[in-house]
Homo-oligomer: 282 residues x 4
C-alpha cells in the first residue's frame, strides 16, 4: 500500500466530495490545517461538496457549525446530507397524516418544514395512531429508549407504513475519547429484524446520496464522473459507495481507518480505494 | 394440515417437554384447563419437564409463580431454563473477576449464587473495568437502555471477554394486550452486530437446553428420544429445536402461532411439527 | 387492498418505467395484449423505459428479442439494464488488465466492447492470474459450475480486486413451467459469504439503475420524479427500489406476486406500492 | 497471547476431544509426530475422541484412513462425525419414503444403512417426487452442480420436507496447495437463502456433536465437563463450540488459524480459547 500526497492527488480532479467526520472534523474540532485545503481548492478553482451521513441537523445548521469553528468555506449549498434524502422522500411520497419520529426536536424541525405534521413517537397514542402515515428514524437522542423503541416496534407491527432511516451509520465517536455511541442506524437494524419489515435507508454507501451531489454540480457545469474525487475515512461507506457510483476515491487515515489497519482491512474486505493519503490536508 | 386431539397424541409417549409461554400460560394467567393435563399425566404415570427460554428468575421462583396461579404440578426440579445453561457456563468457565450484567437484580441473584461477583453494567467504571471477566445479557428490564447499552458496546470494544445471552427470544408478549416488548435476545443481536463479536447464546432452538432436560430424565430412568414429545407454540424455537434434537413435536395453536397462519408458516419456513393440536389441554 | 384499473393510473403520469419479466413478458412470450399499452402510450404522447435486471445480453439484443415477438415499440434506447451499469463501472474504474467473468460469451461480448480484455474464469491460470484486474458475475450459464465457482473463490482469496455482480436476482423462472433456475445473484451471495469480501451489486432495488433511466429522460425533457410511474411485479426489487428513488409505484399481479398473496406480502414486508393493478395491459 | 506447551496442558485433563483436519492431519497426510501424542495419551491412561465435521464417509472408513496413514490409535469407536448426527436424525425422525441426497454414493451408503431408501437428487423425477420425505446435503462431490443444485431448489420449493445439512463447513483445503474447495455447508447456505426455508444443520459449533461424544464417554465412566479438553484449529467451530458446551479449549496453530493471525482473530471475534498451543504434538 502506497501512501500518496493529497495535493498531488487532488490536482488530477476538478471536483472533490468530502466526508465530514474523520476527514474535516476530528473528535476535538476541525482537523488541524484543513482550512489550507479549502484555500487551495478556491485558489485552483476546484469545486467541492460535503457528502455526509447526518440527519441530526439541517444543512444550514451544519454549515453554521463549521463557521463557528472558523471554517467559512463550507456553506449550506455545498452540503449534501442523508437527512436531505429522507426529506426529499417525504416530500415526494408522503402526502398526508402524521410522520412519527425518533430523534431530537431539532432533527424533526428540518423534515417538518416540508409541511408534514411531525410528532415524536412518544406522542403517538390510541387516538392519533390511525393517522400515522410514516415513521422516520432520525437520531439516537431526544427520547427514552426503553419506552420509545418498544413503542416503535408496536407501531410497526400494527401499521403497514414506510419506515425511513435517515442515517445508516451504526456508531459514532464521542468527543474527546475513544468511546463510541450507538447511532440510529444500529437501532434501526435491531427494530427492522424484530418486526421483519424492510426499511428505507438513506445515506452512504447507497448511491442516491452521491447522485444528489452529482445533480447539484451538474446544475452548474457539465462534468464527467471521471473528474470527481471522493475523500473519506471509512471503507464501508465512503469508499465502496464512491467506487460503485463510478468515482475515484481516496481513503484518508485521519479517522475510522487507522494507519496500521488500512492494508489489512482493504485486503480482507476487498474494498479498494484508488488512493490512500494520510489526511485531506494539502 | 390435520389438527389432532392432544390426549391421543400424548398417549403415545412416556415423557413430555412443555414450553411455558403460549402453552401453559396465556397473557392473562394459566391457560384455562391446563391443570387437567397435568392431572392426566400424573394419572398415567408420565413424566414431564418445562423447557423455557427465561433468565429473569431462578427455577425456584418460576415454580412458585405457577403455584401462586394454582398449578402445583410444576416444581422446580421439573423446570429447565435458558438461565440455568448460562449459569452452568459461568460455573464451568468463568473462575474469577466480575461478571457484568444487563438485567434486574433478581435475574443476577440467580447467577450470583454460583460464587462469582456480579455487578450491573451501570456499576462498571475505570477502576473495576480491568477486572470484568464476562458479560451476561439476562433481561430487558432493570437498567437504563440509553446509558447501559452504550456502555455495554464500549466494554465489549475494549475487552476480549465472553458475552453470554441467557435468553435468545427477540420479543415477548405483554400482559392483557396484543402489544409486545423487545426481549434481551433482540438487544443482544443489535450489540453483537455493532461490536462484530460472537456471543454465546443459550436457549431454544439450540439443542443444549433439550440435552439438559434429557440428562435430567436419564438420571431417573432409561429412556429413548423416541419416547419424548416436545410441545410448543413457536416454530422457530420449540419445533425446529425439538426436531433437530430428534424428538417428535406438537405445535399448539394457543400462543405465537395463530390457527389461521399455521399452515402458511409451516410451508414457508419448512419447519414441520410431527403433530398440530389446538392446545395442550387434554 | 384495492385493485385499480391500469389505464386510469397511467393517465396521471407523463413517463412510465416498466420492469420486463412478469410485466411485459410472461413465461410463454409477450403478455397477451401488452402491445395495446404501448399503442396507448404513443397515442397519449407519454414516454417509457424498460428498467430490467438483466446482464445476459446487450440492450440492442434485448430490443431485438421484443421485435421478434412482435413488439416494435421497445427499441434499444428505451432499455436500461443492470448490465449497462456494470459496463459503466468497468469503463470508469477498470483501466487495464484482464476482466475475468462468469457467464456466456454473449454476455461478455457486451462488456468487452468497452476495450477491456475479457476472459472466462475457466481461462485464468498461473500465467495470467497476476493480470486479472476485476471479476464480473454476468450469468448463470456458459460455464461449469463446479470447476469455475471453485476457481472464482480461489481467485478472490488471492487477489484484492473488485467483484461486480451485474444482476442481483436470486432466481429466474424457466419457460413453460413453474420451475425456477438459480440466477447469478444467488451464486454471488454464496461466493461473497465464503470469501468474506464485499461485492459491487448493480440492479434494482439499488437506486443507481433508476437514476440511469432518470438521466436518460432528463436529457430529452425537463421532468420531476412526481411525473414518473414505476411498474413492476416484485416488491423487493421494483417496488421498494422505485419508492426509495421517490417514484410512485404500481404492483402488477401478472408475475412474481400472485393475486392471493399480494396483500399478505405487502403487510409482512412493509413494502407499499402506490397502486395495485391486475396487469400492465390497458 | 501466551503460547503454551501442549503436554503440560493435556496433563490437566482426563479426556481429550480432537478436531481432525488441521489438528491430526495436514494437507499432506498426518501431522508429523502426532503418533507420539496418542502414545502419550495411552501411556497416561487418558481417553480421547475425534470430533469432526465430516459426512463424506462412515466412522469405519474414516478410521481406516488413519490406519492406512499409520495411525492405529484411532478406531471407529473413537470417532464422532457430523454425519453420525444426520444419520441419528433420519433414524429417529424419517420413517418412510425416499431420502434424496447431494453427495457421493459413498456418503449416501452410510445413511442408507439405516434402512431408508436413498436416491441421488439426479434420480428424483415426476414419478417419485411425491415419495420424497427428506433431503440431505452430504458432500460437494458426486453430482453435477448446475443440474442438481437447480433441481434441489425446485424440490424444496414444491415440497415441505426437512432439509438436513450434514457438514456445516463452508470450505475445505485441497491437498498439497493453498487452494480451497467450496464445501457442502457453503452450498447449503445459498440454497437455504434462495428457498427461504430453515435447514437442520449438524456439526460444530452446534453443541449436539459435543453432546454425542460426551454421551459416549459417560457410557464408560463417570466424568465431569471440567475433565475434558477440546483441541481444534478453528475459532468459529472447535473453540466457540467447545466453550459453549462448557469445555476448556486449546487453539492449535497447525491449521486454519495461522500463528501471525491468532491474536488478532481472537480479539476481533471475541472467541477465547482457554489455551493456545503450537500444535497437538506432545
Amino acid at each position: 500500500m502506497q501512501v500518496q500526497d493529497f495535493k498531488s492527488v487532488v490536482d488530477k480532479y476538478r471536483i472533490v466530495f468530502f466526508d465530514a467526520f474523520g476527514v474535516l472534523k476530528s473528535y476535538n474540532g476541525l482537523l488541524p490545517g484543513i482550512e489550507k485545503t479549502f484555500a487551495y481548492l478556491a485558489d485552483q478553482g476546484k469545486e467541492y461538496y460535503i457528502v455526509t451521513n447526518d440527519a441530526s441537523r439541517s444543512p444550514k445548521q451544519l454549515a453554521e457549525s463549521y463557521h463557528k469553528m472558523g471554517l467559512y468555506a463550507i456553506d449550506q449549498d455545498r452540503i449534501v446530507s442523508s437527512g436531505m434524502l429522507a426529506k426529499e422522500y417525504l416530500d415526494l411520497k408522503v402526502n398526508e397524516g402524521i410522520v412519527a419520529y425518533l430523534g431530537t426536536q431539532n432533527s424533526a424541525h428540518y423534515i417538518d418544514s416540508s409541511g408534514l405534521h411531525t410528532l415524536p413517537v412518544s406522542a403517538i397514542n390510541q387516538q392519533n395512531m390511525h393517522n400515522v402515515s410514516a415513521l422516520v428514524l432520525l437520531d439516537d437522542e431526544g427520547y427514552n429508549w426503553f419506552d420509545d423503541l418498544n413503542k416503535t416496534v408496536n407501531i410497526l407491527r400494527k401499521k403497514t407504513i414506510p419506515a425511513i432511516v435517515a442515517n445508516t451509520d451504526n456508531i459514532y465517536p464521542l468527543s474527546g475519547s475513544n468511546e463510541v455511541s450507538i447511532a440510529i442506524g444500529g437501532i434501526a437494524t435491531m427494530i427492522e429484524s424484530i418486526v421483519g419489515k424492510r426499511f428505507l435507508r438513506f445515506g452512504k454507501p447507497d448511491s442516491q446520496i452521491f447522485m444528489f451531489a452529482y445533480d447539484l454540480i451538474r446544475e452548474r457545469m457539465s462534468v464527467s464522473k471521471r473528474e470527481i474525487l471522493m475523500v473519506g475515512d471509512t471503507l464501508h461507506t465512503d469508499i465502496i459507495g464512491g467506487n460503485k457510483f463510478g468515482l475515484d476515491t481516496v481513503l484518508v487515515l485521519s479517522g475510522n481507518t487507522l494507519p496500521d489497519d488500512a492494508e489489512t482491512r482493504i485486503r480482507s474486505t476487498g474494498i479498494l480505494p484508488t488512493y490512500v493519503c494520510e489526511s485531506a490536508v494539502v
